[in-house]
């Protein structure tokens, strides 16, 4: 179909970071038609990273996280109204309030939700929280302000570790239960995970690795009182934070004929959504956590990245595409993320999945400042810095060009010999 950038009806589903940046990119690329932004939450777009950090410590009010916009969007906002269905033949979106919204160009940026505790009854007990949205963070902040006797965190991923760190900053006793041998094992591997474990233990986090919570106990009045561990043992806690990762919000696409499941909505390299036959729907693009796309840097492996930077860059790519000004190259921004916890700054570029070797390329774990480079089959695939961020761009360039692994030796600030260590990652990529 031919498209003029000037006209038509654009709808963005999802009013968070990717939806906002995608809408801005549409306008910046010259789209002058009508623009509607649909959001399930009642809030205008806000930034999530502070929610698991300074919002919990009370330094930032949850409502202070509203995102800046530098573009006059001239948009109609449908906030507090989830999308519930998509009819691609009629090019119409169905909303939770029964309204129908026609579109010519649709950006899907519905993101993820927290994976709930598997037992719904236990998950509804008072004192059981998850943290994904602004309102979740405000509720958990209120619980922390009431000085719980002990917080139990289920899951030692980034969110779980950041929440544990916030508890210790508030001097609240905290136990973190993680099934792997270390926290952050899925993304960093157990070699770096052990560094993170030591950091949190030194700050007083009661870390239970190789452990799992089997069930949560009711105090008889509908509030959680205790967690029973698999294999025996229990932990008394009046606040439980379920930090088991996220599920992509694709349920509303059921019956649309698009290729979507809880792992994401499939897109091609240009950013168009794919139907169940694998054909692109050129009226629809996807961006952010929900979009699963073939990453050119990793042999076209399909990934859905829950990264702040990916939400921004992929949304800009998708916005231009829908405006009729697509980028020349397929989307393939280098994955990046950061996490601050326990007073340290963890930053990463690339994807560690499948790494078969790791070297400490800069600095020294003993000094608490270092950069670890991950390799796979003789190529650099990822780098993780611990309080060593200024070295990261140099290694990002090596990862982008798939430079040989192990890398150059005897560079500035490098240890004399680079031992290749086992990274300790799970056997199979889990994305």
């Amino acid at each position: 179909m031919t498209r003029t950038a000037a006209s038509g009806r654009a709808v963005v589903v999802g009013a968070a970071l990717a939806g906002l940046r995608g809408a801005e990119a549409l306008r910046r690329a010259g789209f002058a038609g009508s623009l509607t932004i649909v959001g399930a939450e009642p809030h205008p777009p806000y930034d999530r990273p502070p929610l698991s950090k300074h919002v919990l410590t009370g330094e930032v009010p949850a409502e202070a996280t509203r995102l800046p916009s530098l573009v006059d969007l001239d948009a109609t906002w449908r906030l507090g109204t989830a999308a519930t269905g998509l009819d691609r033949h009629r090019r119409t979106l169905r909303l939770a309030d029964g309204a129908e919204l026609p579109y010519d160009r649709l950006l899907v940026a519905t993101g993820t939700r927290a994976r709930p505790w598997p037992n719904p009854h236990e998950g509804r007990l008072g004192g059981v929280y998850s943290i994904r949205d602004r309102d979740d963070a405000a509720s958990l902040r209120a619980a922390f302000a009431a000085r719980p006797r002990r917080v139990l965190i289920i899951g030692g991923g980034f969110i779980g570790c950041e929440v544990a760190s916030a508890c210790r900053s508030l001097d609240i006793p905290v136990t973190l239960v993680e099934p792997s041998a270390t926290p952050l094992a899925r993304v960093l591997g157990t070699h770096l995970g052990a560094v993170v474990r030591a950091l949190h233990e030194a700050r007083g986090v009661d870390l239970r690795c190789n452990a799992e919570v089997e069930w949560l106990e009711d105090d008889g009045a509908g509030h959680v009182s205790r967690a029973r561990l698999a294999g025996g043992g229990s932990i008394e806690a009046d606040v439980v934070v379920v930090a088991l990762g996220a599920v992509r919000n694709t349920d509303w696409l059921a019956g649309s004929g698009l290729s979507a499941d809880p792992g994401g909505l499939d897109c091609d390299g240009t950013g168009h959504a794919l139907d169940e036959a694998g054909e692109p729907d050129t009226n629809i693009a996807a961006a952010g956590d929900v979009a699963r796309f073939p990453h050119p840097l990793y042999d076209g492996r399909r990934v859905a990245l829950e990264h702040w930077g990916n939400a921004v860059e992929q949304a800009e790519h998708a916005g231009r595409l829908l405006a009729g000004c697509p980028s020349e190259a397929p989307y393939g921004a280098l994955p990046t993320f950061w996490s601050t916890q326990g007073g340290i700054n963890i930053k990463s570029v690339g994807l560690t999945d499948g790494a078969d070797g790791l070297v400490i390329a800069q600095g020294s774990p003993k000094e608490g400042r270092f950069l670890a480079l991950y390799g796979r089959q003789g190529r650099c695939i990822a780098a993780v810095s611990i309080d060593c961020a200024r070295w990261l761009p140099a290694y990002a360039a090596m990862i982008a060009e798939r430079a040989p692994f192990p890398p150059i030796r005897r560079g500035t600030d490098q240890p004399a010999g680079l031992d290749i260590l086992p990274p300790g990652l799970p056997e199979k990529p889990q994305r």
Binding site: I37, P44, D47, P61, T65, P68, S69, L70, A75, R369
Partner: protein, 84 residues
């Protein structure tokens, strides 16, 4: 501009700015901390903490912070100045 959002944050000043820092870009050069010490600080060795909603009364300091960032990681929206 977008129509008025359905909920206004009660604890914020009416004229709060909106600040976001791309912490992938941030290299902890800390120039923002010198320009606007009430709203930016380094925690530990290199973790930047910033106030995402500083008062509009501090817009000059925030603007100095924005332009002094060596990696241009700071975005600021000033609702009063961008209002039609």
């Amino acid at each position: 501009m977008p129509e008025t959002p359905p909920e206004q944050a009660p604890a914020l000043s009416e004229n709060a700015l909106r600040v976001s820092v791309d912490l992938n870009r941030c290299q902890a050069y800390a120039q923002c901390c010198y320009a606007a010490p009430r709203h930016f600080r380094i925690e530990g060795r290199e973790a930047l903490f910033y106030d995402p909603a500083p008062s509009g009364a501090d817009r000059d300091a925030i603007e100095r912070a924005r332009i002094s960032c060596p990696v241009q990681a700071i975005r600021v929206e000033d609702p009063e100045r961008s209002a039609p």
